[in-house]
C-alpha cells in the first residue's frame, strides 16, 4: 500500500525531515505556483525543477526510483487530458500538462514523505487551513489502514478456503465474487471504523488530534524557507531571461 510506504518514509531522520512543516508547506506552495504559472521554456524549467526535486529526495534519503514511480500515480488521469489535447492538434499542451502534473505530484510526495501526517496537518492548521477539512483528511488517512487490514484479512480467509486471486477480469464468476467481496469489505471497514471511533472517544478524544511534537522554528527552518522559496523563483527567472 502506498500510504504505508509513505508513512514509513515520513518517519526518517534526515535534515529535510527535521524541518518545520510550515516551511516545507510554504516552499511546496511556491514551487507549485512557479510551475503552474510558467509558460515559456517549459522543457528547460521542467528539467531544472525536476533536478531540484531529485536533489531534495536524495537529501531526504528517500529511495529515488520508488519516489519517482509513486509520483507517476497522477499520470493515468492527466494522460486522458493529454490525449484529448493531442487529438485536438495541440500535442505541446498535452505534454506540458503531463510534465506539470508529474512535477507537482513529485513535490507533494516529497512533502508527505518527509513529514509525518499529524505534523503536516498541524502545520496546515497553523497556516490557517480549515480545521474541519484537516480532520477529514486525517480520518481518511487513518481509515485507509483499516481498509487495507480488513482487505488482507478477507484475502487470507478466501485463500484458506481455496480461492485463487488471479485472472479476475477474465472470469465473470470470479469478477462477481470480487464485487461481492468489495461490498463486504466496505461493510466490515465501516463497522471497524465505528469501533475505532468508539475507542477514541473512550480515551477522551476531544474532536481533534493533539500532536505529540510541538512545532518550533529554528535557524535551519528559516534558511530552508529562504532556499525553498528562492530556488524555483530564481530558476524560472534565470531560464526565462537566458532564453
Amino acid at each position: 500500500m502506498h500510504h504505508v510506504t509513505l508513512d514509513q518514509w515520513s518517519r526518517g531522520a534526515s535534515a529535510l525531515h527535521r524541518r518545520d512543516p510550515r516551511v516545507k508547506i510554504a516552499s511546496v506552495l511556491v514551487f507549485l505556483v512557479v510551475l503552474a504559472t510558467a509558460h515559456r521554456e517549459l522543457a528547460w524549467l521542467g528539467a531544472a525543477l525536476f533536478a531540484v526535486l531529485c536533489v531534495a529526495a536524495w537529501l531526504a534519503r528517500l529511495p529515488l526510483a520508488g519516489a519517482l514511480a509513486r509520483a507517476g500515480v497522477v499520470l493515468p488521469f492527466t494522460a486522458v487530458f493529454a490525449v484529448a489535447s493531442w487529438l485536438e492538434g495541440d500535442p505541446a499542451r498535452g505534454a506540458t500538462l503531463v510534465m506539470k502534473s508529474y512535477l507537482s505530484a513529485l513535490a507533494v510526495l516529497l512533502l508527505v514523505s518527509t513529514t509525518p501526517l499529524p505534523l503536516l496537518l498541524r502545520g496546515f492548521e497553523m497556516t490557517g487551513a480549515p480545521r474541519f477539512l484537516l480532520m477529514v483528511a486525517q480520518f481518511l488517512y487513518r481509515y485507509l489502514f483499516v481498509i487495507s487490514e480488513e482487505a488482507q484479512h478477507m484475502r487470507k480467509a478466501a485463500l484458506a478456503r481455496g480461492a485463487t486471486m488471479g485472472g479476475l477480469a477474465g472470469n465473470r464468476a470470479r469478477f462477481r465474487a470480487a464485487a461481492g467481496a468489495l461490498a463486504v469489505l466496505f461493510a466490515r471497514s465501516y463497522a471497524r471504523a465505528g469501533e475505532i471511533h468508539r475507542a477514541m472517544l473512550a480515551r477522551g478524544f476531544p474532536g481533534y488530534f493533539r500532536p505529540l511534537t510541538e512545532l518550533h522554528f529554528h535557524r535551519g527552518d528559516v534558511m530552508f524557507l529562504v532556499l525553498g522559496v528562492f530556488t524555483p523563483v530564481a530558476l524560472r527567472l534565470l531560464i526565462e531571461r537566458v532564453a
Binding site: D7, R11, E195, A199, L201, A202, R203, G204, L212
Partner: protein, 235 residues
C-alpha cells in the same frame, strides 16, 4: 464512603429492538476486582460501554460520584479506563508510543508529560522495546498489552477490561494476572476464562438476559451455573 461505580435500574435497547440491558443494578467499591460472567450476548459488554458513556440507556450510572452524562463525560473518561475486546480497534495511531500517549494528551497533559506517562505504562506491560513500532506490526498478544498500556497511561481510578486474556498465551495470561493484581485500581473484568477470574477477582456478577441474576464469589457462581470448561468424555 461512596462506591466507585453505582448503577441503578439500567436499561438499554439497541436500534434493532434487541433488549440488551433490562434493569441492571451494580456497585463497585474501592480496591475491588469483580468478574462479569455470563453467556455471549447476555449484556456484559453493553453494560461496560455505559460505564464510559459510550452508550446511554435509561437508569442512573455514577462513576466516583459523578453522574455519567454529556456534561461530565470528559471527567468520567479520565476516571474509568476501558480496554476493548478487540485490541485492533483500540490501536489507531501510527506508532505504539503515540498510541499510548493519545489518552494523556487528550486529558490535557503536555506532550513531554504524555511521553513520560506513555513510556512508564509501556514499561509496566513489558512493551517499551516496541515504542517506535507501528501497531500493525505487533502480534495479537502484544497488541493487547499495548492497549492496556494506553489505558494505564491515563492513570484511571477504575479499569474495565473486556476479555483481557483473548489472544494471550499462557505465560502472557500469567503476566497479565500478575500485572492486574499489582495495580491499585478497582477493576471490572469481563471474561469467560474462569482460572483467570479465580486468580484475579474477589467477587463476580452473573449476567443473564440483560440483568445481573446473582453476585457472589467466582467459585460459587462457577459451581451454580456450571461455568467451567469440562472436557466431554470420549464416547
Amino acid at each position: 464512603m461512596a462506591p466507585l461505580i453505582l448503577v441503578r435500574g439500567l436499561r438499554f435497547q439497541y436500534e434493532d429492538g434487541t433488549v440488551a440491558l433490562n434493569g441492571v443494578d451494580f456497585r463497585l467499591e474501592e480496591g475491588e476486582t469483580v468478574a462479569l460472567l455470563g453467556a455471549n450476548g447476555s449484556g456484559k459488554t453493553t453494560f461496560a460501554l455505559h460505564l464510559n458513556g459510550l452508550l446511554s440507556g435509561k437508569g442512573t450510572v455514577e462513576i466516583c460520584g459523578l453522574p455519567v452524562n454529556p456534561k461530565n463525560l470528559v471527567e468520567v473518561r479520565r476516571k474509568i479506563g476501558l480496554v476493548f475486546q478487540d485490541s485492533e480497534s483500540q490501536l489507531f495511531m501510527p506508532t505504539v508510543l503515540e498510541d499510548v500517549a493519545f489518552g494523556p494528551l487528550n486529558h490535557g497533559l503536555s506532550p513531554h508529560q504524555a511521553v513520560e506517562r506513555a513510556i512508564a505504562a509501556l514499561e509496566q506491560v513489558g512493551m517499551l522495546a516496541a515504542a517506535g513500532k507501528a501497531p500493525y506490526h505487533l502480534s495479537a498478544g502484544e497488541k493487547k498489552r499495548v492497549a492496556i498500556a494506553g489505558i494505564l497511561a491515563v492513570k484511571p481510578d477504575i479499569l474495565v477490561l473486556d476479555e483481557p486474556t483473548t489472544f494471550l498465551d499462557p505465560p502472557g495470561q500469567r503476566a497479565l494476572a500478575q500485572l492486574l493484581s499489582a495495580l491499585p485500581q478497582a477493576k471490572i473484568l469481563i471474561t469467560h476464562d474462569m482460572p483467570f477470574a479465580r486468580a484475579t477477582c474477589s467477587r463476580a456478577a452473573f449476567f443473564r438476559h440483560g440483568v445481573i441474576v446473582e453476585e457472589g464469589s467466582v467459585e460459587q457462581l462457577a459451581r451454580r451455573y456450571e461455568w467451567d470448561f469440562v472436557a466431554p468424555r470420549p464416547t
